[in-house]
């Protein structure tokens, strides 16, 4: 529910309640005032009648008979309410009446009871009008409040909506703080200021992390190189030729070092992709068909060793793509290597390169689990495998970098794993606009 709807939901019933209460009070008070007024008028008339009688004057005739009635029989004195039939409208009309005993002027004369009456029908009409006006005002007020809120929502909440839109579009990879404006409303200005500070801290932290990763990557490469070179030199020691156990140990040590170095290279590549550290300037027209042919040639012995049947289908006259050549090579290589790795001896691999997509499908053992998770890091089909399980993660990152779409499909019968990279799906990603930019540079 919108904040405004929520406040209105409380606001309107409260307003209606208060309005009803005050209307009721007003009604009571008005009623009381009007009756009081009638009573006062009746009392004044009583005094007037008494004066007239005291001066032995005749009472003036009244226009309507009901306004004054005399009786010689005793009546209860004081104010009371009564209903009288209105002869014109033929309906009962409420009246206020005052009855008093008129003292005889001369002795011997009988006492008289006089009743003075006043119609309350005007009072009732007045009350009805007042009530009607009040209700009308209530309706106008409620709609007015709702309308005002709607208008305010657009006007006052504008800066908030703006902030929200900027936050949604925010991309930490651009290394730019949010830099939101300071609107006139104090709360929103405060919010924007806090968000600006937050984004500045984020950018700084991110920058630190990036630098650290980069430095760590660079600094570990050197000791690894030293380790590997020293061990290789150690392997050449003449004394080792007699000592098979030590040599095997050393060989294993060397293998572990190489694994570490390979892992390190893959992780560095991933972090560089994630941090968009491949400048658009390095883009050049890459013909993927050539990259594919080169890679297939390099991997040929691997295919032979596993008796894999490779079927390559390259569409003619493929356009070049603006890519980093190293990344293009890495993409093709990882897809092919994946197809070789997760295959049976004597299995099949089909590679198809078209103008819109690159597809690698292979036979292989069925894989359990969520297909989207295959792209996760260190995801291995076989836990005992020596490979770090970063290949598909690298594929996914390269595709994301260039705005390509990568999809995994699985056919159960016969078992067929298909990885399909669709080009030109430039949905988001910083790589995509950079790509277009580079393309326009060349024109």
């Amino acid at each position: 529910m919108k904040l405004l709807a929520a406040t209105t939901r409380y606001y309107v019933p409260l307003m209606a309640g208060l309005f009803a209460l005050t209307s009721g009070l007003l009604l009571l008070r008005l009623n009381w005032a009007l009756r009081h007024e009638a009573d006062e008028q009746l009392y004044n008339e009583q005094l007037y009648v008494q004066q007239l009688v005291a001066r032995e004057q005749r009472l003036p005739p009244t226009l309507f008979a009901y306004q004054l009635s005399r009786s010689s029989s005793p009546r209860p004195t004081g104010f009371s309410d009564t209903l009288l039939l209105d002869p014109v409208e033929q309906e009962l009309v409420p009246h206020r009446q005052l009855t008093f005993r008129l003292l005889p002027v001369a002795a011997g004369q009988p006492a008289e009871w006089i009743t003075l009456r006043k119609s309350l029908v005007e009072t009732h009409d007045l009350l009805r009008v007042v009530l009607g006006v009040m209700l009308g005002a209530l309706v106008v007020l409620v709609f007015g409040v709702i309308g005002l809120n709607r208008w305010l929502a657009r006007r006052l909440w504008g800066p908030f909506q703006h902030t929200l839109a900027r936050l949604r579009a925010y991309d930490l990879h651009l290394h730019q703080p949010l830099d939101l404006p300071a609107p006139a409303i104090a709360e929103f200005a405060e919010l924007n200021q806090a968000l600006n500070q937050l984004s500045e801290r984020l950018v700084a932290d991110y920058e630190n992390l990036r630098e650290f990763t980069e430095n760590a990557a660079h600094e570990t490469q050197t000791p690894l190189a030293i380790m590997q070179a020293k061990m290789e030199q150690l392997l050449q020691a003449p004394s080792l030729t007699e000592d098979e156990a030590t040599m095997t140990l050393l060989g294993e040590l060397l293998q572990a070092t190489q694994r570490l170095s390979r892992l390190h290279q893959a992780l560095t590549l991933l972090s560089r992709l994630e941090n968009h550290q491949f400048a658009p300037a390095q883009l050049m027209p890459v013909s993927l068909d050539q990259v594919l042919r080169d890679r297939v040639a390099v991997l040929e012995p691997l295919l032979e060793a596993r008796a894999l049947h490779l079927n390559v289908d390259i569409a003619p006259d493929l356009p070049t793509r603006a890519m980093h050549p190293g990344l293009a090579d890495s993409l093709v290589h990882n897809l092919l290597q994946n197809a070789i790795k997760h295959n049976y001896p004597g299995g099949h691999i089909a590679v198809a390169l078209g103008p819109t997509a690159f597809e690698v499908s292979n036979t292989g053992p069925a894989i359990e689990g969520e297909p989207t998770r295959f792209f996760e890091r260190f995801r291995k089909h076989n836990a005992a495998s020596d490979s770090p399980g970063l290949g598909l993660s690298i594929v996914q990152h390269i595709c994301a970098f260039y705005g390509f779409r990568v999809r995994y499909d699985y056919d159960a019968n016969p078992v067929r794993h298909t990885l399909r990279v669709e080009f030109n799906q430039r949905s988001g990603g910083v790589g995509a606009p950079a790509l277009e930019q580079a393309a326009s540079h060349r024109q």
Binding site: T222, A229, K230, Q233, M247, E300, R306
Partner: protein
């Protein structure tokens, strides 16, 4: 053969120098950009091995300087950076080859051989090893004067072994040499075994001595004795 190794990392420098000396090269070292710049201006080398990240300068500038002087020296770029960009830049500048750290010393030997062969002998070079004669430019292998037919990979493998006589070559180093350094060595060991087996068989059929030694669990060695 006189080489200049430009490398600021002392520990790595020493090991590389040792390995190169074992292979019969004369190696001079430069530990900084300034020192290297002075040496390439003053002396002539057959090949210069340049580390790109030096404390006082960019190794690529050394490559530029060599090319500007029209130096006949071969240039092998060694890079510790995640190679993708530097490889291209280095090769664009005219470097003959590149190696990404960490590299196999045996791979370094093989690359150096190839560079020097290309630069200096212009097809006139042959390799003699015991009863083996190889003309690399002609892709010809003779065993005791008899031509030997090898597949491309077997031939590459033989050249690699010949570039490192007497050295222990790990299976991983051989795999990377034959399939490129992106190949996961763990996946490619079985094909090395196949190729070596075939190469040996072919050599023996021609009556060559068995000079390819297997070091169980580690790798292979071309035995000079």
């Amino acid at each position: 053969m006189k080489l200049l190794l430009v490398e600021d990392e002392a520990a790595l420098r020493k090991t590389v120098v040792d390995a190169l000396c074992q292979n019969g090269y004369v190696v001079e070292v430069a530990v900084s950009f300034a020192q290297a710049y002075e040496k390439i201006k003053l002396y002539r080398y057959d090949c210069v091995l340049v580390d790109l990240t030096l404390p006082d300068g960019d190794g690529l500038d050394l490559v530029r300087a060599l090319k500007a002087d029209c130096s006949p020296a071969g240039v092998l770029v060694l890079t510790a950076r995640n190679g993708l960009d530097d490889r291209i830049k280095g090769l664009d500048l005219g470097a003959d080859d590149y190696l990404v750290k960490p590299f196999h010393l045996s791979e370094l030997n093989a690359r150096l051989r190839a560079i020097i062969r290309r630069r200096q002998f212009q097809g006139q070079h042959h390799i003699v090893f015991r009863d083996l004669l190889v003309w690399p430019e002609l892709n010809e292998v003779l065993v005791r004067g008899q031509p030997l037919a090898l597949t491309r990979k077997e031939y590459d493998l033989l050249l690699y072994l010949l570039a490192n006589p007497g050295r222990v070559l790990t299976k991983e180093a051989i795999a990377e040499h034959l399939c490129g350094d992106q190949v996961d060595a763990a996946d490619s060991l079985d094909f090395i075994y196949t190729h070596l087996k075939n190469l040996r068989k072919k050599l023996q059929e021609r009556g060559a001595d068995n000079y390819i030694r297997t070091l169980y669990g580690v790798g292979y060695k071309l035995s000079a004795e």
